[in-house]
Symmetry: C2
Subunit: 207 residues, 2 copies
DNA sequence: TCAAAAAGTGAATGCTAGTTCACTATTTGG
DNA sequence: CCAAATAGTGAACTAGCATTCACTTTTTGA
């Protein structure tokens, strides 16, 4: 009869896999993608480099997973806000503010997610993750347009612009070369006002 | 007596240097930073790899130059618009539209400037270049606030948001993995409307 | 024309990780 | 307990490039 994993073994394998992802995530959050070498990940996870390749076919694959897992977490948080109570405007404000605040708290991870140099494969995954964030914002924009809180607009483009806007406003503060914010709340307020104004966009008051 | 460069020699050296930068730029615009290896740059410039190192101490230094040169060009164009005639709103619209249009025309160069994976040194330069773009937009925003076309706002943050917004809206269209725009003019319109609305930001009409 | 100085050459070097693979250890089903 | 199958090890291998350097060619100033 063929070899078949016992339940205990299945658990071990699953937990190894999670351990690898967690180890990679930890290393990224400590020192950026730069510091997250396969050897370091392996030793952090308590495995050998060879073992990693039983779980992930390549470094890029592993980090795509790490990225997606991190993004999943963020999206859960954002979705809660997006699907929560409040006007579209309020929800947009809160969503942007929440993202920016969290990014400032975990700059390495945020930088890795947003902008840190990596190999092209991982970068491609990053672009897709950004689009996933875009989806969240599309939902708010749509609901805002529906109830006339927001102007008519190209939802796809606006969502991308929002993601880009807060992302870029963060790059200075989170990039290792220029890191440091003086007034966190001020930045958060400015960025969320910008995004709200952009989608609300009632251009001339009383004409 | 010490060796001293004749005028002819000075010209040759200057033209070599320019040639190297031009070669690198050409390679980037053809195949992205990826394809722009030192050996390729050297052969495109009609020199040996060794010679490159008489002109630039490292690859990163060379590409910082390339980047800055490319950005200089763009900034000249933008400055013309910014310092030209028209309301702040019009100038902002034109500046954003012009940048986006040019980026779509030269996607490889734009991608290299905006987002392509590279070594950390070059990336740091890229961040600085983005900030240079930010400066251009700060000027428009300031003038718009001054004459009450635009709401009061954090100029630094808004400028970063604008750069981020059009940048991100471009990433999908210019990234090799997802390249392709259906309707260029639609995108341009959507992005510039977004930016204008964001800085104008009269939020409640007639309250 | 000549020797010192500088410019230019390009094959060889070196470095940095990612990846492999011959081998050992563990697990499985009987 | 045994043999087949799978999991895990980590030193060695590899590949891709940037960078160097011993050497050739050109330029300079007298």
């Amino acid at each position: 009869m063929a070899y078949q994993r016992s339940e205990r073994m299945q658990r071990r394998i699953a937990s190894n896999r999670e351990g690898i992802v967690a180890a990679a995530r930890l290393l990224v959050s400590k020192g950026g993608l730069r510091e997250a070498r396969m050897e370091a990940v392996a030793s952090e996870a308590g495995l050998s480099t060879g073992a990693l390749y039983r779980y992930f076919p390549s470094k890029a694959d592993l980090f795509v997973d790490v990225l997606n897992a991190a993004v999943d977490r963020e999206i859960v948080i954002l979705d809660e806000i997006v699907n929560g109570p409040g006007s579209a405007r309020e929800r947009l404000t809160d969503a942007v503010a929440s993202f920016v605040r969290r990014a400032l708290r975990g700059p390495n991870l945020a930088y890795a997610f947003i902008a840190e140099p990596t190999e092209a494969d991982v970068d491609a995954a990053r672009i897709l993750c950004r689009m996933r964030f875009g989806e969240v914002f599309k939902a708010i924009i749509r609901s805002g347009i529906e109830n006339s809180e927001f102007r008519a607009q190209d939802v796809d483009a606006s969502a991308a612009c929002i993601v880009g806007a807060f992302t870029e406003a963060l790059v200075g503060p989170i990039a290792p070369s220029t890191r440091g914010v003086e007034d966190e709340d001020r930045l958060i307020g400015a960025v969320s006002s910008f995004c709200v104004a952009a989608v609300v966009g009632v251009v001339m008051p009383c004409q």
